[in-house]
C-alpha cells in the first residue's frame, strides 16, 4: 500500500495500515500567484495590504505591517475591496509547474492551502482590533464573508481542474488559547453558512475539505461536522480532545495535532518532542482518523519536523 492509499483510508474513515505523517504522505502545492499574502518577501497583497518580512526572524513568514488599517468601518468595505478574478491567472502555467513539483503523485496526496479565511482576511485588512469590533456590524460582515467564500469557491474550481489537488485546507484561526474569538452563536450567524458552501463546493469538485483553526474551538466542532467539513487541522490540546475524538471520531479527520507550544521550544529535548508526538497519536489516532504533523504545518525551529516525522513513523503502527 502506498502512503497515498493509506491516507485515503483515513479520509474514508477506514482503518489505515499506519498513521500517515503529513510531511511524508502529502505534498503542499504552492500557488504564489494567488496573492493572499506575499510569503517570503515584502510587498502588497491583492487587496492592497502591505506585508513585510522580519529580517531578525527569517524562519517566519511575512506579517502585516504593524499598525496598518485600510478602513475601520466595515459597512464601507465595498468602497475599498474588489475581489480579483481567479480566471485572470495563467492556470496552464500553474498546472505545469504543479506537475513538475509533485513528482511523487503516485505516492502522495497533493493539497492547496487557502492561506487566509475570511476572518483572518478582515483582520489583515482592517487591523485585528477593528476587525474584531466589526463583528458587531453583523450584516455587513456576513456580506463580506459570503463574497469571500464565492471568491474561494472560484479558486477551488481552477485548483481542481489545473492542479488536480486531492484536498484543500482553509486557514482561518477562529480560536485562541482560552476561547473562541467570538461567541459560538455569533460564529454560527456569520461563518457557518459560507463555510458550509465552501466545504460543499470542494467536495462536489472531488476534493476533500480541511479547515485549519488554532486554539480553542470545541463549542463549534459539532457544527463543522454537521456542515460537511471533513477534517480539522491544528487540533490544539487546549480542547478536550479525548471527548471530541469519542464524539466525532467516526466523522471528522484530525490533522496536525502535534503542539508547537511543546515542540518548538529552544529548550525542548529530543525526548520532549518525541513524547509530544506519542501523546498526539495516543489521543487522536486510535483506529485511524489522524493525519499527523505539526499543528503549524512547518515548525519554526530547525530539526523539529524531521523528529516529528521520525517518531510518528516509528510509533504510528496499527
Amino acid at each position: 500500500m502506498t502512503e497515498r492509499e493509506n491516507m485515503q483510508l483515513v479520509w474514508d474513515h477506514k482503518r489505515p495500515g499506519w498513521v500517515p505523517m503529513m510531511t511524508k504522505a502529502s505534498q503542499m502545492l504552492i500557488t504564489p500567484e494567488i496573492n493572499d499574502r506575499p510569503l517570503f518577501a515584502d510587498g502588497n497583497d491583492w487587496f492592497g495590504v502591505p506585508w513585510e518580512l522580519d529580517p531578525d526572524n527569517p524562519q517566519f513568514m511575512t506579517h502585516v505591517k504593524p499598525g496598518f488599517s485600510m478602513f475601520d468601518d466595515i459597512t464601507e468595505w465595498k468602497d475599498y475591496i474588489t475581489f480579483p478574478k481567479m480566471s485572470s491567472l495563467n492556470w496552464e502555467m500553474i498546472g505545469g509547474r504543479t506537475k513538475a513539483m509533485w513528482a511523487d503523485k503516485e505516492n502522495t496526496m497533493g493539497y492547496v492551502v487557502c492561506n487566509m479565511g475570511a476572518f483572518e482576511k478582515i483582520n489583515a485588512i482592517m487591523g485585528f482590533e477593528n476587525g474584531l469590533c466589526a463583528l458587531y456590524d453583523t450584516e455587513d460582515y456576513i456580506d463580506f464573508v459570503n463574497a469571500y467564500a464565492d471568491y474561494r469557491i472560484e479558486e477551488m474550481y481552477y485548483v481542481k481542474k489545473y492542479m488536480d489537488a486531492d484536498f484543500m485546507m482553509m486557514h482561518d484561526d477562529w480560536g485562541n488559547q482560552n476561547n473562541l474569538f467570538l461567541s459560538p452563536d455569533l460564529w454560527r450567524e456569520i461563518f457557518k453558512e459560507p463555510e458550509r458552501r465552501m466545504a460543499e463546493a470542494c467536495r462536489n469538485l472531488g476534493m476533500h475539505y480541511m479547515h485549519h483553526s488554532c486554539g480553542y474551538i470545541e463549542p463549534i466542532v459539532g457544527d463543522l461536522v454537521e456542515i460537511g467539513v471533513e477534517s480539522w487541522h491544528s487540533v490544539s490540546p487546549v480542547n478536550d480532545l479525548a471527548k471530541i475524538k469519542a464524539e466525532y471520531g467516526d466523522k471528522l479527520v484530525f490533522a496536525g495535532g502535534v503542539d508547537p507550544q511543546v515542540t518548538d521550544r529552544l529548550d525542548a529535548s529530543e525526548e520532549d518532542i518525541r513524547k509530544e508526538v506519542r501523546r498526539c497519536i495516543d489521543v487522536l489516532g486510535k483506529d485511524g482518523g489522524l493525519l499527523c504533523g505539526s499543528a503549524v504545518m512547518f515548525s519554526t525551529v530547525q530539526g523539529v519536523d524531521a523528529l516529528i516525522e521520525d517518531e510518528g513513523t516509528k510509533y504510528g503502527k496499527y
Partner: protein, 211 residues
C-alpha cells in the same frame, strides 16, 4: 445613583456614544469626576473583566467596552487633572522582541487602565533593554511583558536579568503572560507574577502595588 448605573450598563454593552452623552450629563449635574469614573466607568469595566475571566464574554466584547470607557474617560481627564487626582500606579507594557502578537497585551493594558493605573504602551517587538530603560526613566513600579511564541518567551528572562543589571530589580515588579507562559515558567525565570488572563492581571497588579 441611577445615572451612574446607566453609564456602567451602557459601557458593558459597548455603547460608546451613549456613554459619552451620559458622562457629559453627569458632569453637568455636578457629580464629582472621580465618582463618575469609579462608580460609572470602572464599575462597568469590573463587570466586563469578571465575565471575560469566566469565559462568559469574548474578546470583541471587551474591546468595544474598553472603547466606550475611553470615550467617557476622555471627558473626565481634564477635570481630574484640575482636581489634582493622582493615578494609583505606573506600568509599562509591551510584547517582547521578535513577537508581534498584540491583542492579549492590549487587553491587559485596557484592564490596567480600567483600574485607574497609568500605562505606557511600548507596542510590539520590545527589547529587554527598552522595558528596563522605560521603567527607569518613567518611574514605573511594574513592567508587563507579553509573549505568544515559545521562541520569544525567553526574552522575558532577559528582562528580569536586565532589571537586575540596571540595579532596579527591587524597585520594580515584573509580570508576564501570553499563551505559552505558565506559572512554572514565571518561577523559573524569577519574575514576580503570571496570570492566565487580562482581568486577573489587573487585579494582581493592583495587589502588587499595595505591597
Amino acid at each position: 445613583m441611577e445615572l451612574l448605573d446607566q453609564i456602567s450598563e451602557n459601557l458593558q454593552k459597548g455603547k460608546a456614544k451613549a456613554v459619552k452623552e451620559l458622562v457629559r450629563q453627569a458632569i453637568d449635574e455636578g457629580i464629582p469626576a472621580d465618582t463618575i469614573l469609579n462608580e460609572g466607568l470602572i464599575s462597568g469595566m469590573d463587570v466586563i473583566g469578571a465575565k471575560f475571566k469566566a469565559n462568559e464574554i469574548f474578546v470583541p466584547e471587551v474591546l468595544i467596552a474598553a472603547r466606550a470607557m475611553n470615550m467617557g474617560a476622555a471627558l473626565l481627564k481634564p477635570i481630574l487633572a484640575e482636581d489634582g487626582a493622582k493615578t494609583t500606579g505606573k506600568v509599562c507594557i509591551g510584547t517582547v522582541k521578535g513577537d508581534l502578537h498584540d491583542i492579549g497585551k492590549n487587553l491587559v493594558r485596557m484592564m490596567l487602565e480600567s483600574k485607574g493605573l497609568e500605562v505606557i504602551d511600548l507596542g510590539v517587538d520590545v527589547t529587554a533593554e527598552r522595558f528596563v530603560e522605560t521603567a527607569q526613566k518613567e518611574g514605573c513600579q511594574i513592567i508587563c511583558c507579553s509573549a505568544l511564541l515559545t521562541t520569544t518567551m525567553g526574552v522575558m528572562a532577559d528582562v528580569v536579568k536586565a532589571a537586575k543589571d540596571a540595579g532596579i530589580r527591587d524597585q520594580v515588579k515584573i509580570m508576564i503572560g501570553g499563551a505559552p507562559v505558565t506559572q512554572a515558567y514565571c518561577q523559573q525565570i524569577g519574575a514576580d507574577a503570571y496570570t492566565p488572563d487580562a482581568a486577573t492581571a489587573a487585579e494582581v497588579a493592583v495587589a502588587l502595588l499595595k505591597g
